[in-house]
């Protein structure tokens, strides 16, 4: 059985259909890269899968319809890392990370168990956030803030990690760090990742599978090498993608 199965997913905002009859599945160990030009509907797909926006069609996690899974149970199955974080108050890094254990702790006045502390420590260690624990998040750089939320989602310990353009406005060092951390997280059995990316090189380098989208529809879905071919990309982006990539690379040769 697939970890995630999406059947005939459609998302509409008013009269506008942004995702149209999309079906795909994700298995354990997969890193599915959702790629496509602006307005292709990539973010709407992950928002619909994580139940952030209303949608039509069905999404199954290990055979269970996610619409029927309670929020806490769903959070144990799926974790989401968004591209932007604006925290209004000066919470400490530790405050933010420990919220990752919310779905596991008792409902009212819940405190952390030893198991929770262990998971948080491991997430903090993995992301290298230990020196920042007492710092207010309002004093962090964009990259440090993104690592804080990555630690939160690692502490949440989901089976499926959903990343929505996680490195969009980060410098190269943080881009590399983030993707390597997610790759390390994925190496544990029973896990999978879906990420929306614009950088086709990152998609090729880290993705095991890719879903190429255009105007709300799937153009192609399969192994990354089979999907991200120059012929298909040229059709979607209306430009010679490989030639552009090579031109960029030539700047370094």
């Amino acid at each position: 059985m697939s970890l995630l199965e999406v059947k005939n997913l459609s998302v509409r905002y008013g009269e506008r259909t942004v995702v149209d009859d999309l079906s795909f599945s994700v298995n354990s160990g997969d890193w599915l890269m959702i790629v496509g030009p602006n307005g292709a509907g990539k973010t709407s797909v992950v928002n619909a899968v994580s139940q952030t926006v209303p949608s039509r069609g069905e999404v199954f996690f290990e055979g269970r319809n996610v619409k029927k899974i309670k929020p806490r149970q769903l959070a144990k199955s799926m974790g989401v890392l968004s591209q932007n974080h604006f925290v209004a108050y000066s919470f400490t890094v530790e405050d933010v990370i420990r919220l990752g254990r919310y779905p596991y702790s008792p409902r009212v006045f819940g405190s952390l168990s030893d198991g929770d502390r262990e998971k948080i420590s491991r997430a903090v260690e993995m992301t290298g956030m230990k020196p920042f624990l007492t710092k207010p998040v309002t004093a962090l750089s964009g990259g440090e803030l993104q690592r804080t939320f990555l630690a939160q989602v690692f502490a949440q310990d989901p089976r499926l990690l959903i990343l929505d353009e996680p490195v969009n406005h980060l410098d190269l060092v943080y881009q590399k760090q983030t993707f390597e951390l997610v790759q390390k997280w994925l190496s544990q059995e029973g896990r999978a990742v879906i990420s929306v990316v614009h950088d086709l090189s990152l998609a090729k380098a880290y993705g095991t599978h890719a879903l190429l989208m255009d105007r709300g529809r799937a153009v192609c879905m399969g192994r990354t090498a089979d999907v991200l071919t120059n012929e298909r990309l040229c059709g979607v982006y209306s430009m010679d993608v490989a030639a552009w990539m090579k031109k960029m690379l030539s700047q370094w040769q």
Binding site: S50, P71, A75, K76, G79, H85, V87, F91, Y102, F109
Partner: protein, 342 residues
């Protein structure tokens, strides 16, 4: 890893500070009663076998004690509502009145005063009953309109509808005042906010609502942390966003409705107290909510004392004092926080 909430020692300390402030505020006034005598009278009234009598006992037990208890409870309620709303809406300018429910409650009270509406079996409680009824009616209208406009009940929709409703209620209040005749004076004094003449029954109603709704808000500390960090983040970590939002809004509305019905419109306490407390405890709602509750009680008791003492034997409405002090404090807090960010 540090503990999130408070322990028994901190709660005992907060209680002690609140009780000492209460004692000082009961003792002080146009006729000052020695602190020891005040404590003895209250102790004997609560635990003694013989009921204390005399002028001091009469002043303390019949006038000041019920008033100061009500002031403390209203301060606690307004502040915990302010802290909860600032977290839920991620807006440091929010407080219990942001939702528009307090304007609704005011409309109910103003109608009651202007037209002399009373409840047959409780002739003294007409204003209170109508204010609470209007508070709940306002909440139902605001949430129904928000739900009709936006199925997900987004905070921006709720704020917008709340503001529009507030303006609507204020215009009706002005209309009612136009036809109020000789009652204009009473209405104006009531809208300035005052707890003079509060009774033990008022204190009982306030205590019951604060115990239930305040307790619910304190229990939502972690969820409010998640909301303050971001509503989407809250949803992603498993918070039942719609349920928590409704729980907080209903609890805040009930508290604000009861406070407005008893004390009128008392501004700035709900807005400023969480800001002062946040500077000491940090933004974590597991600490911020209980500390705001105690802090608000102490702050409003001190403001009420000032209202009684500044121009004695004349008494100012406490709402005037809180607005004056609150506005200055708010400017100071913003000035210092902006400077520390540079």
């Amino acid at each position: 890893m540090h503990r999130e909430g408070y322990g028994i020692t901190e709660y005992l300390l907060f209680t002690a500070v609140t009780l000492v402030t209460l004692l000082v505020c009961v003792a002080a006034g146009s006729i000052s009663v020695p602190l020891g005598e005040t404590a003895r009278i209250i102790w004997n009234a609560v635990f003694g076998s013989v009921k204390p009598d005399g002028t001091y006992a009469s002043i303390i037990l019949s006038v000041r004690l019920p008033r100061v208890i009500c002031v403390a409870l209203v301060g606690a309620a307004l502040s915990v509502c302010g802290a909860a709303m600032q977290g839920l809406l991620r807006n440091p300018l929010a407080d219990g009145s942001t939702l528009g429910v307090s304007s609704g409650a005011s409309l109910g009270a103003v109608i009651s005063i202007a037209f002399g509406i009373t409840v047959p079996s409780l002739p003294f409680a007409g204003t209170t009953v109508l204010a609470i009824a209007f508070a709940f009616l306002s909440l139902i209208i605001i949430l129904s309109l928000s739900y009709k406009l936006d199925f997900s009940l987004s905070t921006s929709t709720i704020i917008l509808i709340g503001i529009i409703f507030s303006m609507f209620a204020s215009s009706i209040i002005s209309l009612v005042i136009t036809f109020a005749g000789e009652k204009v004076g009473s209405i104006t004094f009531w809208t300035m906010g005052s707890l003079s003449g509060s009774t033990y029954l008022n204190a009982l109603v306030l205590s019951a609502v604060l115990a239930v709704c305040g307790g619910v808000l304190l229990g939502c500390g972690r969820e409010l942390n998640a909301f303050a960090i971001g509503e989407d983040n809250a949803r992603h970590i498993g918070v039942n966003v719609k349920k928590i939002k409704l729980t907080v809004l209903i609890s805040v509305s009930a508290l604000i409705g009861v406070c407005v019905s008893i004390g009128g419109t008392i501004g700035f306490v709900g807005l400023v107290t969480p800001h002062i407390v946040r500077m000491i405890t940090g933004p974590n709602h597991r600490r911020l909510l209980p500390a705001s509750m105690f802090g608000g009680a102490v702050l409003l008791m001190l403001c009420d004392l000032l209202a009684r003492m500044l121009l004695r034997p004349l008494e100012l409405p406490v709402g005037v004092v809180t607005s004056l002090i609150g506005a200055i404090l708010f400017v100071y807090i913003f000035y210092t926080s902006r400077r520390s960010r540079r």
